[in-house]
Symmetry: C2
Subunit: 91 residues, 2 copies
């Protein structure tokens, strides 16, 4: 089956929207935690493992020279790091 360039374009767009959403999703968590300074219900282990995973994704992006992977994970890295620092600070 031949896939038309139109379908490829739509698929790439879908991937870009997906990546943007999973990245920006951490903004409301950063804002909420920044405002209320409460992190009791947030799992520390989740953020440690997630941060490590995103860091590896970022390195993976650098190695395969894939800009969307680098940008999405670079931004996520910063946001997730902020939540992690706030979690360590507020317990």
């Amino acid at each position: 089956m031949t896939i038309s360039p139109k379908v490829v374009e739509t698929t790439t767009l879908l991937g870009l929207v997906a990546g943007s959403l999973t990245t920006i999703s951490f903004i409301p968590q950063v804002m909420k935690t920044w405002k209320y300074k409460e992190t009791k219900d947030i799992s520390f282990l989740m953020y440690v493992i997630f941060f490590t995973g995103v860091l590896l994704w970022f390195l993976y992006g650098l190695i395969i020279k894939n800009t969307p992977v680098i940008v999405a994970n670079g931004v996520s890295l910063i946001l997730v790091f902020i939540v992690l620092v706030l979690k360590i600070r507020y317990g």
Copy 2:
């Protein structure tokens, strides 16, 4: 520059480890929330946006027929959905 098969293999492994970590990271959050039934400090908006993003990643994986993308995001989808349901339930 020629990249040896060994380097390609290591890079793929890096991507797989990265994907596994970001996926399994939600397990401790599910366990913590399941146990303590407290979700006040967790951002509802974060989980709604993250869930939507992972759902699109999953669809993207199905379209490009990429098994690691399908599996990683399929598992994430379930874990993130559980946190979201618990957040709706416990507020």
